[in-house]
């Protein structure tokens, strides 16, 4: 019995055939059911559980004494949380903007039919293959005033040179931006390059015949065509930014003080280090809402497109 044969179902077909049809109809559902169930429980189920916990006064272990919104009001009266989410805005904005700019620029330069493109592309993409732990450790050394760039500049004679952002309370968050941009811009470049290669050559030819210069062609024609690709990059980078954890832990450990804390490190610290699961869950929910605020416009635009198409 072959499942694939779609013999006319209505004209007195033996019941075997219809069984095959039925099987064919339910098979994808059966195959997908376990992963669906796992996703439902371990992603959405746990989101709901975190939501429930954020309304309880859970300390060391989860409990179900509901205390309303008091965890949220506590959260927003905490200086450390203010620092954490302010940092997320600074870090997220700079990281996304700079990584996209650098990535696009690299892609455009690589797109000029240069020699050894394959090698260069690999070189730029390689940082993305490194674990954030490695990136963090390397940049921790590079930025350390005692052994890194500052020491190097002093050693070659620039004794007034100062670059101590890593240990400066007001600048530490920017060192995380530097390391994160270094990590991700090669990835943006790869996506952009694919996009650039997808642009129809005849449009460019036509513009050249009309006398447009290359910069104008990029600005007025190619980059606008690539709008959806920019959007994909934006979505990918923004979720990377919101869930950033390992880079902060390795590079600054949230310090000096807690000046470079991000919501993810805050959540871990409170839920697991300080036995305040309630407040930790509340901070996780706020972080989730932040991401939903970005995701919904994205889903909206995606789904609308399908309707029209």
């Amino acid at each position: 019995m072959t499942i694939g044969t779609q013999a006319q179902p209505l004209s007195g077909v033996p019941s075997r055939e219809s069984l095959a049809d039925k099987l064919q109809a339910v098979l994808p559902k059966i195959v997908l059911a376990p992963s669906m169930a796992i996703t439902l429980v371990f992603t959405y189920g746990f989101i709901v559980w975190s939501l429930v916990l954020s309304f309880t006064n859970s300390r060391m272990l989860p409990n179900y004494d509901f205390i309303g919104l008091s965890n949220y009001s506590k959260l927003f009266s905490m200086d450390r949380w203010t620092v954490a989410y302010t940092n997320l805005f600074i870090f997220g904005f700079l990281f996304i903007v700079i990584a996209i700019c650098v990535g696009t620029l690299l892609a455009i330069l690589l797109d000029q039919k240069i020699r050894a493109e394959g090698v260069l592309r690999t070189i730029y993409l390689y940082p993305f293959a490194l674990s954030l732990i490695v990136t963090g450790t390397a940049w921790k050394w590079i930025l350390n005033p005692e052994i890194g760039i500052e020491k190097l500049m002093h050693d070659i004679g620039f004794s007034r040179f100062q670059f101590d952002w890593l240990v400066d309370k007001d600048m530490a968050i920017y060192t995380i931006v530097i390391a994160a941009v270094w990590q991700a811009s090669g990835f943006v470049m790869a996506i952009m390059l694919a996009g650039l290669r997808g642009v129809d050559n005849s449009i460019i030819k036509a513009a050249q015949i009309d006398g447009a210069t290359m910069p104008t062609i990029y600005r007025r024609i190619i980059l606008p065509i690539m709008r959806p690709i920019f959007f994909s990059c934006f979505i990918i980078l923004s979720h990377l930014a919101i869930k950033s954890f390992d880079l902060v832990v390795v590079l600054t450990a949230g310090g000096p003080g807690y000046s470079s804390d991000l919501p993810a490190t805050f959540m871990y610290q409170y839920a697991f280090g300080r036995n305040q699961i309630g407040i930790g869950s509340a901070s996780a929910m706020i972080t989730l809402m932040g991401f939903i605020a970005i995701l919904i416009p994205y889903l909206y635009s995606e789904l609308r497109k399908k309707k029209h198409g």
Binding site: V167, G255, N275
Partner: protein, 418 residues
């Protein structure tokens, strides 16, 4: 099946389904994975084997024990806790509230723990009047570690006794071109130094009111403001590479003669010993100014979880007895750098710092000036000590915050965390 084979099978079986209570087996969760720590623990394993019990090692790496505690919580929730877990301080009481701990009263009575242990130490390891954890060592935190040659060179070998003398010493060391104060800018190190400054400035009674009883009046007092101000003053004697530096690298600066002094618990002694340095000859250990009569302690303990089978219970009681026994305490603390919790252990093989630590510990226990360390989880539950960490480290790193502002922020942060 031969007897040997049987034992082997039983041991393998026990190892395979660890946690499930089996004949005379203890499963011990700990995070002592560094060389010295592992060596100290090996002594205990051998002693348990000599008693005829088997040992399942449940080591979870990660110095601060955060990971280990997370694993422990998940095991306890699923109803399958290990026999014993390393833990310190008031968190024991939080576990007691969950009703999962085993009582050690029988062992405690027959071994006379109440008579051996100072009340301040014993109380931490009891839940509702019963022992639920066995203490293994005492670390003293109010130590300063000085490089002897720098001390001789700039201060004529004089150990500073008051904060005035201390800052005079700092000035001289700084002028002589040394890093005067060695510090690692991590939140727990900030808290450790602040705690000693507070104890030195305010004395043990005030310290106890403020950081153990969390008395609002003591917390918001002028003494607190003064403690914050003194703590901030230390910052001008530190080097710019301080933020984020690990404590052992900081100790190495004192060992190498780059820095004059470090305030740190007696685990720092291990670093000096590993570098082949002698107390009194290469380095000097002395109490932090103003804390000469007080003893700021941190006690490591093993907390016991209720076990189902008779054999596991018996093994657990034996483990508890061994942990506090004279032989184990002597050997273990020699390796760990700390001092024994019981007074009747021979100190012949210990160094002069440990001997001083021991006699101060006994004296403080008598006079009631033993104070638990909040920087090392002995005085407050984690939520509160975390809040204090935040205020201390933020104040220390913020050049514009005044000591007054820090005091009022400390009060509100503690209220919020309770």
């Amino acid at each position: 099946m031969t007897g040997l084979n049987k034992t082997l099978t039983a041991a393998t079986f026990a190892a395979l389904i660890s946690g499930q209570a089996h004949a005379g087996n203890v499963e011990v969760l700990h995070y002592w994975t560094s060389g010295g720590e592992a060596a100290a623990l090996a002594i205990l394993q051998k002693m348990m084997k000599d008693e005829g019990h088997s040992w399942t090692d449940f080591a979870v790496a990660g110095g601060g024990g955060e990971t280990a505690m997370t694993v422990l919580k998940s095991r306890a929730i699923s109803g399958n806790p290990p026999s014993a877990s390393m833990i310190a301080g008031p968190e024991i009481a939080q576990w007691g509230d969950l009703g999962v701990l085993a009582k050690l009263d029988e062992v405690a009575t027959s071994e006379g723990w109440d008579a051996l242990l100072p009340k301040a130490v014993a109380d931490i390891h009891k839940y509702q009047g019963s022992y639920v954890a066995a203490p293994v060592n005492v670390h003293r935190i109010n130590w300063m570690w000085m490089n002897k040659s720098i001390l001789d060179q700039v201060n004529g070998g004089q150990v500073p006794q008051s904060w005035d003398e201390f800052f005079a010493f700092m000035d001289k060391a700084k002028q002589a071109g040394f890093i005067a104060f060695a510090h690692g800018g991590q939140d727990w190190q900030d808290a450790t130094v602040f705690e000693q400054v507070a104890l030195g400035v305010g004395g043990d009674d005030w310290y106890r009111q403020a950081f153990v009883e969390l008395d609002k009046q003591a917390l918001s007092s002028d003494t607190m403001t003064q403690a914050f101000a003194t703590f901030k003053k230390l910052k001008s004697y530190m080097d710019p590479g301080m933020p984020g530096r690990d404590w052992n690298l900081t100790t190495a600066m004192v060992i190498d003669g780059k820095a004059a002094v470090q305030i740190m618990g007696d685990w720092a002694k291990g670093e000096f010993a590993a570098a082949g340095k002698q107390p009194g000859k290469d380095y000097v250990c002395a109490t932090v100014p103003g804390t000469q009569n007080a003893f700021n302690f941190n006690v490591d303990a093993f907390m016991m979880f209720a076990q189902k089978s008779k054999e596991a219970q018996a093994a657990q009681q034996d483990l508890s007895r061994l942990l506090v026994s004279k032989e184990f305490q002597e050997e273990f603390n020699l390796k760990k750098g700390s001092i024994p919790v019981r007074p009747d252990v021979s100190l012949a093989r210990y160094d002069s710092c440990a001997k001083q630590s021991m006699s101060d510990f006994q004296a403080s226990a008598k006079s009631g000036s033993l104070v638990p360390s909040f920087a090392h989880a002995m005085a407050m539950e984690p939520a509160v000590s975390g809040a204090v960490y935040d205020v201390v480290t933020n104040f220390f790193n913020d050049n514009d915050m005044t000591a007054d502002a820090a005091t009022s922020r400390l009060v509100s942060a503690i209220e919020l965390a309770q």
